[in-house]
């Protein structure tokens, strides 16, 4: 695992408030190699954004706490890095595209200046002319006319603003890009344009990417690997082929696929997952999905299922056993 860009090991994150402790991430393992795109899928409250914020070390001060585990970014342990050091890493080695382009830009500064800001902070260029050149170059890269750099965010459309946010994230050519629902706020035709752009840029500068989304369609289109999160855990993971083509799945994954209206066949009724996500302040003992699972057995309520892995396809469910996993071979796993 020498060339892993990101290596998260047994991560636990909690939000602590006066009233409650919210268990947002519960024992998450994740490895990402150079040039790979990982789709992190799950419903609201599954812990996707918390995972990304932990990698950025941007958890809300005092409330968000990493309880346990390690996050290695390009070999460097960052859970214990000082704020000063993180400032150097953030935006340079790892950067993030936030969900809502309308609120993640500063409305009082021109977009050109906002792109230049990262370049100045990370001292990439020394003279003003060089920085100006680079800003023009980046604007062209995300297919915006460089002349528009003197405009303010409100003068641009939603799609253009999201391009600016992507431009800022990619300005220093980071090794890892975290994209948190980058297209959720956009219309489908604009979404298609932005996804295409992100794919091109990723190939051009060879970054790794974690694409956080709840849309399995986007995952099928844009990702190499998929991790499905439920209540702070990855319950199934593997290559896109494992998730979309293989026979064996976690019951939650099956439910997720059955909830999506199908465009090609006409099913008369959807088969949603019954019930709701468990309360993150009070998770069930045993498997977190046991309260909603159609295949719930006695053991599911008592014991947390181990990870069963076959050829890199990981499923965390008691329905599977050692015969699925073949021999327990932890050396070749992705997760």
């Amino acid at each position: 695992m020498e060339d892993a860009i990101l290596n998260i090991n047994d991560l636990y994150v909690e939000y602590v408030t006066d009233d409650a402790r919210i268990f947002a991430v519960n024992g998450l393992d994740l490895v990402l190699f150079k040039g790979e795109t990982l789709g992190l899928v799950g419903e609201t409250g599954a812990g996707k954004t918390t995972t990304a914020l932990s990698v950025m070390q941007l958890l809300p001060e005092r409330t968000g706490v990493i309880k346990k585990g390690s996050i290695k970014l390009d070999g460097v342990e960052i859970t214990k890095a000082t704020e000063n050091k993180m400032r150097g890493i953030r935006g340079d080695n790892v950067s993030m595209v936030f969900q809502d382009p309308m609120t993640s830009l500063n409305p009082t500064i021109t977009v050109g200046e906002q792109i230049a800001e990262v370049l100045v902070l990370h001292k990439k260029y020394s003279t003003k002319a060089e920085i100006d050149n680079r800003v023009d170059e980046i604007m062209k890269m995300v297919r915006l006319q460089p002349e528009r750099k003197n405009e303010y965010p409100h003068q641009l459309s939603g799609g253009m603003k999201q391009r600016i946010v992507i431009a800022i994230a990619l300005a220093c050519e980071p090794k890892l890009l975290l994209a948190d629902e980058p297209t959720t706020a956009l219309d489908v035709t604009i979404q298609a344009q932005v996804l295409e752009l992100m794919r091109e840029l990723k190939e051009k500068i060879n970054t790794s990417m974690i694409l956080i989304t709840h849309d399995l369609g986007i995952v099928a289109q844009a990702c190499d690997k998929v991790a499905i999160m439920y209540a702070g855990e990855i319950i199934e993971g593997g290559t896109v082929e494992d998730i979309f083509l293989a026979k064996n799945h976690h019951p939650y994954t099956v439910g997720l696929f059955n909830s999506i209206p199908n465009l090609t066949s006409k099913a008369s009724r959807l088969q949603p997952i019954a019930g709701l996500m468990p309360d993150p302040t009070d998770l069930p003992s045993g498997c977190n999905f046991s309260t909603r699972c159609p295949n719930c057995m006695e053991i599911c309520k008592e014991k947390k299922p181990p990870k069963f892995i076959r050829n890199g396809h990981m499923i965390r469910c008691h329905l599977f056993n050692k015969s699925f996993a073949g021999e327990e071979d932890h050396s070749c796993v992705i997760y």
């Binding site: 419903e43 489908v188 604009i190 298609a192 369609g217 289109q221 999506i260 949603p272 709701l276």
Partner: protein, 318 residues
């Protein structure tokens, strides 16, 4: 006995802005049959929500007529319209914003009944409220809860219960599932479809999500900048889309299927939606259309029936 419940003729709504007239809805004709669902799809700003509100006369149309069950309701007086409203209701997009945070669930659901005075006896009214909560699958224990105590899916169920409180015949669903997660979205869609079967409701289902609209609609209308560009049955639209905008819209949906996703050649349309303020005559999609010719600008393009029940507004259809 006519089967058409809602009909509009040349419906228009212009908004006055400082930069000129904004053509939000520009000459839309639609019909909805009893017990059927019309899906209205389009991107943000195409006028689909405005259209939904116009049909209910929550907004006054600039021009055009609305017929409900054969009667023209567009010049009904306020008091007459109030009576009509018991038959037509709306479910809003954002369950967080459309419920009064200071009212309990039972007060929210009972409010339309109180306003329209359909049930005057308070005990009867309470009975109706608990029946409604039962219908939409809300547990009785929530009766005195406030909206902030519930999750998005339950809140949207309250919205559905409120819309059903007056036993309407017609409901406008304005993006009722857009704010919800997929598994919850499926629960609400199933609920809406069950209610339609039980009560023979007619829906106008406004959404930007094409897979949802295909699932629930009998007929689909595709809108672009205030105009209807294609209208046909749900199956026909997905099998045989004719208007270039419909084709691009369908191609842009990310399909949760690996083989289709890898094999499909994506036709991405360039550019973004042009301004709806003082639009130029001619096809409004022409600026982004890969097939645009001179013919497309100049004169407004009318809907043509290319095959029975399939209407398209494009110069390529002769």
């Amino acid at each position: 006995m006519c089967d058409i419940l809602i009909e509009t003729r040349d419906l228009k709504k212009y908004f006055n802005t400082s930069r000129g007239l904004l053509h939000a809805v520009d000459g839309v004709n639609l019909t909805i049959n009893k017990g059927n669902t019309l899906g209205v799809v389009g991107e943000s700003g195409c006028g689909k929500s405005t259209l939904g509100r116009l049909v209910l006369r929550l907004l006054e149309p600039t021009e055009g007529k609305i017929y409900y069950d054969g009667q023209c309701i567009s010049n009904y007086s306020r008091s007459k319209m109030d009576k009509m409203r018991t038959k037509m209701q709306i479910i809003f997009q954002d369950p967080n914003a459309s419920l009064n945070p200071r009212m309990t669930i039972s007060e929210i659901i009972a409010e339309p009944i109180k306003v329209c005075k359909t049930i005057r006896d308070s005990r009867e009214r309470d009975k109706k409220v608990s029946e409604l909560m039962d219908t939409v699958g809300l547990a009785k224990r929530f009766i005195n809860s406030y909206p902030h105590e519930m999750d998005g899916g339950r809140r949207q169920r309250i919205g559905v219960a409120r819309a059903l409180a007056l036993d309407p015949e017609f409901i406008v669903c304005d993006e009722p599932v857009s704010a919800l997660d997929v598994s919850i979205q499926a629960q609400i869609l199933n609920l809406l479809m069950d209610l339609q079967d039980e009560r023979r409701l007619s829906y106008m289902f406004v959404t930007h999500d094409l897979s949802v609209v295909k699932h629930i609609s009998d007929e689909i209308m595709v809108m672009y900048l205030g105009q209807c560009v294609e209208r046909t049955s749900s199956d026909e639209l997905f099998l045989n889309p004719i208007h270039p905008y419909t084709q691009a819209l369908l191609a842009a949906i990310p399909v949760p299927d690996l083989i289709t996703a890898r094999n499909s050649k994506r036709i991405n349309i360039r550019g973004e939606v042009t301004s709806p303020i003082d639009p130029k005559p001619g096809c409004r999609f022409s600026a982004r259309c890969p097939y645009a010719t001179e013919e497309c600008t100049g004169e407004d393009i009318m809907l043509k029936e290319v095959s029975p029940g399939h209407w398209v507004a494009c110069t390529r259809c002769k």
